[in-house]
Symmetry: C2
Subunit: 243 residues, 2 copies
């Protein structure tokens, strides 16, 4: 309810560049704009019916969030994760998630409730076979882990990092089957944290992150192989594949 009204407010009164950034972000994270898709500002400004300046502002936002790259004098493009990017993401995950678990004795009760709620949501998504929500729900659990720090800036930062991780999910053929096995492990970690077994939870999480990183790197590497042949741009006024 409060969340609905908040979304509505932002959609209505937010500045145009933020609205457009949100729209593009959604398209990217839903996988409708696969990594590598070129985002030409003239085309997008026409599509969203805003001036080029405004659209560029939205692209700058997404660039800062790490969802797109925006080189000088070149088109913006949806970021294609490299293996190094994935390693960096998991460096952050290890630092923050393990740190938050070590520190979980200082977390308030609400934070533990939030953990439970997110795991339950992920399990619900699995049982309802809402496969495309499973990955997001699982990430929300890990967001809740880091949320135990109680710091809004860390939450925002980590949220951006996980958004980048979803770039990798977006190119998976069968995301559902890849995501599902992690949920029981989330449940187990959640239980250990709530029971106060910090060392156990940390050990399990470390293993979880190692396994997950390996898996994601494999996907990214496989994709690198596929995209060895560079997609060449159309000349003149050809209608451009990627939407």
């Amino acid at each position: 309810m409060t969340e609905d009204s908040e979304i509505f407010d932002q959609a209505a009164s937010a500045p145009a560049d933020e609205r457009i950034a949100r729209a593009l972000r959604d398209r990217i994270l839903e996988g409708h704009l696969p990594p590598g898709t070129q985002l030409r500002d003239s085309r997008l400004s026409a599509e969203f019916a805003v001036a080029r300046h405004t659209l560029r502002g939205a692209l700058r936002r997404l660039e800062h969030e790490g969802l797109i790259v925006y080189p000088m004098h070149k088109s913006a493009a949806v970021k294609t994760l490299t293996a190094d990017d994935v390693h960096e993401i998991y460096r952050v995950r290890r630092a923050l998630e393990l740190g938050a678990i070590e520190n979980s004795s200082a977390a308030p009760a609400e934070a533990f409730e939030a953990l439970e709620a997110t795991v339950y949501a992920a399990e619900s998504a699995v049982s309802q076979e809402a496969w495309n929500h499973v990955g997001t729900a699982s990430l929300r659990f890990h967001q809740a882990i880091v949320g135990m720090f109680g710091s809004v800036s860390i939450d925002q930062f980590f949220s951006g990092v996980l958004a980048q991780l979803r770039l990798a999910f977006a190119v998976m053929k069968d995301e559902a089957q890849w995501q599902t096995p992690w949920v029981p492990r989330d449940r187990e970690i959640c239980g250990l944290i709530r029971s106060g077994n910090r060392a156990g939870a940390a050990a399990l999480t470390r293993q979880y992150l190692d396994d997950s990183e390996r898996g994601v790197v494999d996907v990214v590497r496989a994709n690198e192989m596929n995209q060895r042949r560079p997609v060449r741009r159309r000349r003149a006024n050809a209608p451009e594949g990627g939407q």
Copy 2:
């Protein structure tokens, strides 16, 4: 040398947004633009001889870094830290600095060398009585602590948080005398980390952060008292005090 050329390159070829953002950031962090200073885009665009669009881009950057506030339909202004802001900053510092210390066994040797170098730089600043550099040098030590994670994104994030902290330093009357006492404590923490005494280093750092937070909150609170009477804007074409 390499750093010089890098700075030169950026100053020459970087987009105008970034150049101006850098200039304003420097002015703010040096204390030339005290918190609360209004940053009117029309005036600044004239001053920097760029279009308003370009300048607004720079302001958006600084807004994202948390150095200025930029409300809808109101002037941007240098951020005035509240006590809550300070608490948030120290939540981040506790999470990352203590986490990095706990994790320091996994850090490479270079990271320990970097620690040593930054502490030495701070001590040099003290002995050379370069008072206005002491605070920056000390913060660089803490940046180096977090650097032990080996994650560039965490480094960037933490760098932004410490920049916000410098907003509080900027309003201090005698920053030098405030900063100096912390350097010996930095030295002690550095020694404990390098000797592998993680628990000791963590305990000392925790106490350090508690003391530091108290001090900064006092400064911020005192400033809040002073600024109870709002500075009213000039009408018409009065030349505006700030900068």
